[in-house]
């Protein structure tokens, strides 16, 4: 590949510039990876250094500290209370107490069971007096894994708080040494609505994310390394760690045995095709509709807009289910076409693989155009009108105005949006689930549970495997693979995008 100097580059036509950029990107990939590993390496190094520094710091704090500080190493918050920072001290102390009580009564059990995920499943016994069977439940692998993770979270939080507690003492001693007064409880409380206001604001939202988003995610990732399924449900039959076994099956690493690599590739390909068309058909058609409605001389602008928006307002499970039935083999559309004599055999809207794939994209347009129309309307209004005026004076026709002004402007501003919308389309569960449920069935594909359809995306496939066939371990393998695919795509696209996203620009 020839490298251009900056001057040469500027002289290139737009198209060439684009090609050049892409070529640069791919040529840059090895370097990029080298950089990435270097970064990771240095991150580890930095981390190591900071851990070392931390230990040194803790040690010196202990060595140089007074008895209040030293006692705080065992009784958290002691130093703070002794120095009059009651609120901080009490919170530290309380946290320590809760932690100790929790670890003794519950946490210790969950942590100790984590490596085995339980040793005794349910036991069924015959009761001769009542002539019946009773079941006694013992370990529960699911709970062990769940509360094991939570306990680890808790331990990390405790270690962090303990470190804070130590640091607090060091800082307090230093302040006192310099002869300044310490901040009291009142000051602490006051700073929570002022300098430290962001901590107040973030406390709840971040806790929510931690418990209800991050924790389930970690759990699901771990499930991929177990055999958690309907058969090994964790309570009746305990589940256990199986290492990389599931990945072997999904990716075909293990020779001989059943593997689903080909099926995964097939579904991934369709998912990408779907996401591409779903994103770009909506994007361009939505923009077109917005331009049509906004054109000078078009009447009833508001009415058109309102009509289109109905598909956003009405819940999809109503509208999509109905549309799906309309296009059924014996549905309204086929009925009418047959009545009118336009066709003599029902059209296979949902029963032929190609038809079904085109249909989901077309119906997705029906659902998606209104969003894009709204977005485009907002952006189109922001395009400075004098650009168009001068273009008109220069004799540019409507099409030229579009390709030279509107489209570049739109692409420029909505680049990141296109990426997020591509990714959310990859995970567009509703449209596929409600319209086809994945149908028609792909008879040739080998799936770890049940059947796979031609319109199934990775996300609906994963849902089928998890919910219909209770093969949670396989579903979470797919989940992890989806995650990898999505992040690779994002990474590539982000580095291709012009860096328009400097936060500070707008302020």
């Amino acid at each position: 590949m020839t490298k251009y100097t900056e001057l040469e580059y500027l002289k290139l036509s737009k198209w060439r510039k684009f090609l050049y950029k892409i070529a640069c990107f791919f040529v840059g990939i090895p370097g990029w990876f080298v950089n990435l590993f270097k970064k990771i390496g240095s991150a580890f190094k930095d981390f190591g250094i900071s851990v070392k520094d931390d230990f040194v710091d803790i040690f010196t704090t202990f060595k140089n500290g007074d008895y209040k500080t030293r006692l705080s190493f065992v009784i958290m918050g002691f130093g703070s209370i002794a120095r009059g920072q009651i609120l901080r001290g009490v919170l530290f102390l309380l946290f320590e107490l809760v932690f100790i009580v929790y670890m003794i009564f519950w946490g210790g059990y969950w942590i100790s069971m984590l490596p085995s995920l339980g040793t005794q499943g349910a036991i069924k016994e015959y009761d001769p007096i009542y002539d019946t069977y009773v079941t006694t439940y013992y370990d529960d692998s699911f709970k062990i894994l769940l509360y094991g993770i939570l306990t680890i979270f808790f331990i990390v939080a405790f270690l962090y708080t303990w470190r804070l507690n130590v640091k607090q003492n060091a800082i307090a001693e230093e302040i006192l040494k310099s002869g300044k007064p310490l901040k009291g409880t009142k000051d602490d409380l006051k700073s929570l609505v002022d300098e430290q206001f962001h901590k107040t604001l973030l406390a709840l939202p971040l806790t929510g994310i931690l418990v209800f988003t991050v924790m389930p995610m970690i759990f699901m990732i771990l499930v991929a390394f177990t055999n958690y399924s309907g058969e090994f449900d964790g309570k009746n039959n305990l589940f256990s760690w199986v290492g990389l076994e599931n990945f072997n099956q999904m990716l075909g690493w293990s020779a001989g045995g059943v593997n689903y690599a080909a099926t995964f590739g097939e579904v991934l390909a369709w998912t990408l095709i779907w996401a591409f068309f779903a994103t770009f058909t909506n994007y361009f058609l939505g923009m077109l509709v917005a331009m049509m409605i906004n054109k000078k001389g078009i009447r009833l602008k508001k009415v058109w807009r309102t009509i289109l928006i109905v598909t956003i307002a009405v819940p999809q499970f109503i509208s999509l289910l109905y549309v799906s039935k309309m296009f059924a083999q014996d549905g309204l559309v086929n009925g009418m076409l047959l009545d009118w004599g336009w066709i003599d055999k029902a059209l296979p809207f949902w029963t032929d693989s190609t038809w079904a794939r085109v249909m989901v994209i077309v119906i997705n347009i029906w659902i998606g155009i209104p969003y894009l129309m709204l977005i485009a309307t907002g952006i189109l209004m922001n395009i400075p009108q004098d650009l168009y005026e001068s273009a008109k004076i220069d004799g540019a026709n409507a099409f030229q105005q579009y390709t030279k002004i509107t489209l570049p402007y739109m692409l420029f501003v909505t680049g990141p949006y296109l990426l997020t919308s591509f990714i959310s389309n990859m995970n567009n569960f509703n449209v596929i689930y409600l319209l086809t449920g994945g149908a028609p069935t792909n008879a040739a594909a080998l799936s770890p549970g049940g059947s796979l359809g031609y319109t199934d995306l990775l996300i609906t496939w994963l849902f089928k495997i998890a919910i219909n066939d209770s093969k949670f371990y396989m579903a979470s393998v797919i989940g992890i693979l989806v995650f990898i695919v999505v992040s690779v795509i994002s990474l590539i696209v982000y580095s291709l995008l012009p860096s328009t996203r400097n936060e500070e620009d707008f302020q």
């Binding site: 002022d194 300098e195 994310i209 418990v211 988003t213 995610m217 928006i309 819940p315 499970f317 952006i379």
Partner: protein
């Protein structure tokens, strides 16, 4: 837009008048075509909804039929709804929607305002972290969330508070759109107030919030609409207990094989009743929705 320069064509300026006339007739033609297109689109967009409404007034049969206009009109299907748990579901959904709208708005505003206005250690890292976990398919989480909620006794009959908890707790991830909005409010406003001695909290409540009305309404609107359509997660959490279902789950259950023949038109009637408030609200607050999605798209 440097390409503009290339568009120079001198001949246009030599005969401006004739050209002008051409443009005018051209515009009339093109506008007519566009009007026709818009009418066609409107028909395509509305047909399914009109069909659903018409089915809901059909009296002569309760199953799916091959014609659109009912032979006999009436409110029978709506009356039939009163004999089901539909209004329990409706009330459930309404409660969920109201509380979610309230709390989720608070959470989202806290997140987005903080990330937009404060510069603290770990901010960039936090944002990147949330971007990354957002890429993990959330579908599977529902299996774990179910068990957590079950342990807190917030499933089945108690699914309503459970659903509110989950919707609200995970809503912090969706801070992006409103952060984009806050980014556009000049920082100088804050600084001026800070100089005058206002605390950060006072700045938020007295200066920023009044300016943020569009984004607040956008957030409330989207948070209020979402629970009406959730049938996957809500179905999992309510575990078939009618008491804890939302409308989507309830109505969806009428479409299974045993029930569809007898409940199809009732389903349509229920669908209409669900769509009306959401649609009306949406129509009224459309303006804010547009400002929200536009801002979100621009900021990505």
């Amino acid at each position: 837009m440097s390409e503009m320069n290339q568009l120079e064509t001198p001949e246009v300026e030599s005969k401006p008048k004739k050209r002008h006339m051409g443009i005018k007739t051209q515009r009339v033609i093109s506008n007519t075509i566009i009007h026709i297109l818009l009418v066609i689109m409107s028909v395509v967009w509305l047909v399914p909804f009109v069909c659903i409404v018409l089915q809901s007034f059909r009296v002569e049969s309760t199953w799916q039929v091959g014609y659109i206009v009912p032979q006999k009109w009436g409110f029978d299907n709506y009356i039939a709804l009163t004999k089901t748990d539909f209004f329990t579901w409706y009330l459930n959904t309404f409660i969920i929607a109201v509380f979610t709208a309230l709390f989720q708005t608070i959470v989202v505003l806290c997140m987005s305002y903080t990330l937009s206005r404060f510069r603290f250690r770990g901010r960039k890292g936090l944002m990147r972290f949330m971007l990354i976990i957002g890429m993990f398919p959330g579908m599977l989480s529902m299996i774990i969330l179910y068990r957590i909620l079950a342990d807190l006794h917030l499933t089945q009959g108690n699914a309503v508070p459970g659903l509110i908890l989950v919707y609200v707790a995970s809503s912090g991830m969706g801070y992006y759109v409103s952060k984009g909005f806050f980014d556009t409010i000049p920082k100088s406003l804050d600084e001026a107030a800070r100089v005058d001695g206002a605390t950060r909290m006072q700045v938020l409540f007295k200066i920023i919030l009044p300016l943020a009305k569009p984004i607040v309404i956008y957030t409330i609107l989207t948070a209020f609409m979402a629970p009406w359509a959730d049938f996957v997660f809500a179905r999992y959490i309510s575990m078939n207990t009618s008491q804890g279902m939302n409308v989507a789950v309830g109505l969806y259950s009428w479409l299974n094989k045993d029930q569809i023949a007898g409940k199809y038109t009732t389903f349509c009637a229920g669908g209409v009743l669900v769509a009306i408030p959401v649609t009306v609200l949406f129509m009224f607050l459309q303006k804010y929705y547009v400002s929200g999605v536009t801002g979100g798209a621009v900021k990505g």
